[in-house]
């Protein structure tokens, strides 16, 4: 008899998780190069051998994963020479203590060793896996659309831009960084735009609508739980009256 409660509970847990994903999207509506996420749910069937038993013939909701919306964000002009936007597929490669990580956030700066770094200080790598050093006395840094970095017309190397066979399998680590266990593949046709940043691709209208939907569905779930509870209580009180 408690199956109704359990099924509804699985939906409530899924909705709570969906709410966390939606609120993370809304919180990141202004985050550079953020990709919105949406939860994926599947129907979890009870074991087929139990189907003959009507009490076990039901299914539940199971959250399967979160999918990243890979549509590109709008480019916004900042005019800063170290702000780079990827116009097309791919990720910049950055060096961390734990190995190579990937990001689309091209809001770069330089550190005290004059290396090109992300805004959190992680060195950005060129297409040969080396750090990019900006020489002393550089007046102007230019980045051509193919990713070649020049300091006063002297080439410093070409920024490494990579993509992966399945971008959905990349794991977000926060700070705009992603990690993949797959082998990176160099991208050729992506253009790098200097003085621009990629904005978040979160559509606030969609997210607000999602949030309202989650909230209403959650109310319905609660109502079913309450109805089920009332039903049981009613049944118990009636049944106990007959036996008395």
């Amino acid at each position: 008899m408690e199956n109704t409660s359990l099924i509804v509970l699985s939906r409530a847990a899924a909705l709570e998780r969906q709410m966390a994903v939606v609120s993370n999207n809304i919180a990141n509506v202004n985050t550079t190069a953020f990709k919105g996420e949406s939860p994926l749910f599947v129907e979890y069937m009870m074991k087929p051998e139990k189907f003959s038993d009507p009490l076990n013939n039901y299914s539940m909701v199971l959250d399967q994963g979160t999918a990243r919306n890979m549509t590109p964000g709008a480019l916004i002009q900042t005019g800063n020479p170290l702000d780079l936007a990827l116009n097309g597929d791919g990720y910049f490669e950055v060096d961390t203590l734990d190995g190579k990580r990937y990001t689309r956030n091209g809001s770069f700066t330089q550190n005290d060793q004059r290396e090109l770094t992300t805004s959190s200080g992680l060195p950005v790598l060129d297409d040969t896996g080396n750090r990019i050093n900006i020489p002393v006395g550089t007046r102007e840094i230019t980045v051509s659309p193919d990713g070649s970095v020049f300091a006063d017309q002297v080439s410093l190397g070409k920024l490494g831009v990579y993509t992966f066979p399945n971008e959905q399998r990349m794991r977000p680590l926060g700070n705009g960084l992603l990690l993949s266990e797959e082998k990176p593949k160099a991208v050729e046709d992506t253009k790098i735009q200097q003085g621009f940043l990629e904005q978040s691709n979160v559509q606030s209208v969609t997210e607000m609508t999602n949030m309202i939907a989650v909230s209403r569905q959650y109310e319905n779930v609660q109502r079913i739980m309450k109805n089920e509870h009332d039903l049981l209580r009613n049944a118990y009180s009636k049944l106990s009256k007959i036996s008395a």
Binding site: E16, S23, A27, N28, T66, N80, N105, Q110, R171
Partner: protein
Amino acid sequence: MRSLSIGATGMLAQQTNVEVISNNIANMTTSGFKQQRAEFQDLLYQNIRRPGSQSSDAGTIVPTGIQIGAGVKTAAVYRIHTQGSIVITGNELDLAINGKGFFQIEMPDGTTSYTRAGSFQLNADGQIVTSDGYTLLPGLTIPQGTTDITIDASGQVQAKIDGQTDPQTVGQIELADFPNEAGLESLGNNLYRETPASGAPVTGIPGVDGLGTIEQGSIEQSNVNVVSEITSLITAQRAYEMNSRVIKTSDEMMGSLSQLG
């Protein structure tokens, strides 16, 4: 409920955003002011089910895992060093830089700071100083009895002294340039300081090697674009509202839970 704290990080970030925008708007008529921009990053993710982990004994793998982000944080607030418009004031010690570069200013503690607000004056010793009285480097002393100061586009300072026919060359104003101007630290009073992120300054003669030229009798206005700031303000306010809706909705969801039974 994760969404409660996620909404809170969002509100905090948008609050910072509004603060940065309001500082830009407050400085829309500050000479040489460069607008700032807040840069946001996503927070750590909680891995509930890792992508690529095994989903059955047959070796099938999860194509997409479950990762739930913890919200947003402010990663940086940096300046955008685009050229501000130049207005003519007619004051002979109002200098505007048309192009790249900064005036070098000697601070009272002996360090050098940098500015683009070229509203200079003379002090009691005839030195060219900022409106706070800090000396413009290299120190230039205008001789007594000067009736007219001429500063050309390449920064050469000439003084026309009463009773002499030819103007006398007093000195040369040099500009400093940085590879990454966005990395400069703001000191207030329109002054900036060198940091590891900005790189070391390279000094030179105005108009040479990519440095800007000097316009005498003019002032560089703030580069704040009021229209874009107001639209950013509206966006930030809406984003703030949306995050507060998230908190409210999460609260309602929790409230309906406690009414069960």
